[in-house]
Symmetry: C2
Subunit: 299 residues, 2 copies
């Protein structure tokens, strides 16, 4: 089945201790869409400026991503610049130029309104809700978020949560949202806000699922070198939704493996700048790491 992904489509300039790359393809929806495309047909909804490089449109198309919902507007594409410290867990935003993203109103083409699987990747929760308003009875809706919206748009986020099947967020965001400092306690509170499935990401430690079938502890695939972690969380979420849309049977029976695939593709994402590694990925390489993760956790 197909997947609708809405979020940011951006150009990222990223500096680490070892290298610096300008105007990479980035944004939550770009990372999520490419990741989901390994499993399912993807419809991307976003906005870019007329400066958006053609090669990036070609990259989307190579992944058979439907671009009918990608608006190309006069003006500049959303540009984000950041610098990672030597310890890659810390980064500093150097600049955020919203460009055409500032007035982005995601409007779904008619053909998109009946998409069964939906990922509301990280953008303002009011826009995420606006997308939901246009959808007709989606089968499964997941959303990601970021700390910014907890600080600036909490009401919108709480309204959105009531409408989600799954909510994906970082541990620090979960603690901030619930005022808890324990994952289980935080997940329990988030369930009460709406979502049946709560997925809490713990960075290089992995992620954690709380759902009707109980808990699942999802490991991260261990890497000995992280080149650039930008987009790993979006990649994780995109892989999950793509896998769920491809898998047969109940969500409950597939969601653990969906997270494992998310972990694996996110690990590849971290091995290159921006989408450089993810975009070259082959399904066989993904399957190999999934099998490895099975071995790494067996006891």
């Amino acid at each position: 089945m197909s997947v609708l992904i809405v979020g940011s489509t951006a150009l990222d300039s990223i500096e680490t201790a070892k290298a610096k790359h300008s105007r990479l393809l980035g944004g939550s929806a770009s990372h999520a869409a490419v990741a989901a495309s390994f499993f399912s047909p993807v419809k991307l909804v976003g906005v870019v400026g007329d400066d958006f490089p053609r090669r990036y449109l070609q990259l989307y198309r190579r992944h058979r991503i439907d671009l009918q919902g990608l608006q190309i507007r006069p003006g500049r594409t959303f540009h984000w610049a950041c610098k990672y410290e030597r310890n890659m867990n810390r980064r500093r935003t150097l600049s955020t130029e919203l460009g055409v993203f500032e007035t982005f109103a995601p409007t779904l083409p008619k053909a998109h309104q009946t998409t069964p699987f939906v990922l509301l990747a990280n953008i303002a929760p009011a826009l995420q809700s606006h997308v939901l308003d246009q959808l007709r009875r989606p089968r499964f809706v997941a959303a990601d978020t970021m700390d910014l919206w907890l600080n600036t748009a909490l009401r919108d986020l709480l309204a959105l949560l009531k409408r989600l099947d799954a909510f994906i967020l970082n541990d620090s965001e979960a603690y901030q949202l619930t005022k808890e400092d324990n994952l289980l306690a935080a997940a329990r509170k988030i369930h009460k806000l709406g979502p049946k499935y709560v997925v809490i990401k713990t960075g290089s430690h992995g992620s954690f699922l709380s759902g009707p079938g109980g808990l699942f502890l999802c490991p991260a695939y261990p890497l000995d070198k992280v080149v650039d972690p930008t987009g790993a969380g979006d990649t994780f979420a995109g892989s999950m939704i793509g896998y769920l849309a491809e898998a047969r049977g109940a969500i409950e029976n597939n969601i653990r493996r969906a997270m494992i695939y998310g972990s694996v593709i996110a690990s590849f994402c971290c091995e290159g700048f921006g989408l450089q590694r993810t975009a070259r990925l082959k399904r066989s390489q993904i399957e190999r790491r999934v099998k490895e993760l099975e071995k790494l956790t067996r006891f």
Copy 2:
């Protein structure tokens, strides 16, 4: 087979945001010995003062811990006081009174010198080496450490590392020791310092094994309430060595399960102050959580 455990035997005064307890049974060897006793006969080597409460000697004995190597000296027992912040990952030492521990020289009774499994729980690395000097061809030697020794006794620690089968340490200690900020890279460097098995603990995230059979990602048992994490690491190490001493066959075939048992018993440790929860534990309760961990990680 039997296990020799050497380390600190102390009285701990612990304050958390919710409660305060004075002069609890504590110390690395106490936690490790009680944990190991669920699997194997344990010989404890340590020192206490003549103020050491009789009930704590009885507690050791209830766990069939051999106290022939526990010196009872005139003077005061090592006393450590600490205060946890609301976020239990942070604690502050309020006082450290070494008492009779200051001049502790672990001397092994003759009957102890042929013990096949040895855990050098956290004490000064020179003392850990001194114990090794007295042992005759132990089958398996593991050691734990703490950041203090990295700062004050690095040479002694490096000398010890050459003589270990397994080295167990925290992620932050592994990073400090190797100047790496990646678990795999740190483990690789530590192998070069001697130990065949490197176990890196990542707190509430679990732990990580690097050994001749490859890597193992060991989850932590998820808790919704941590009462007092003191001694969880010692409990983990003690459970591991106890399990390995009980299990038949090659270390390689048992070490993953040994870590899982370590995770489980450490989780119980965190559910009470000091040894209060661990000491009341039944093997059936341990087995139940091990089975649960299997379910929580299956995909």
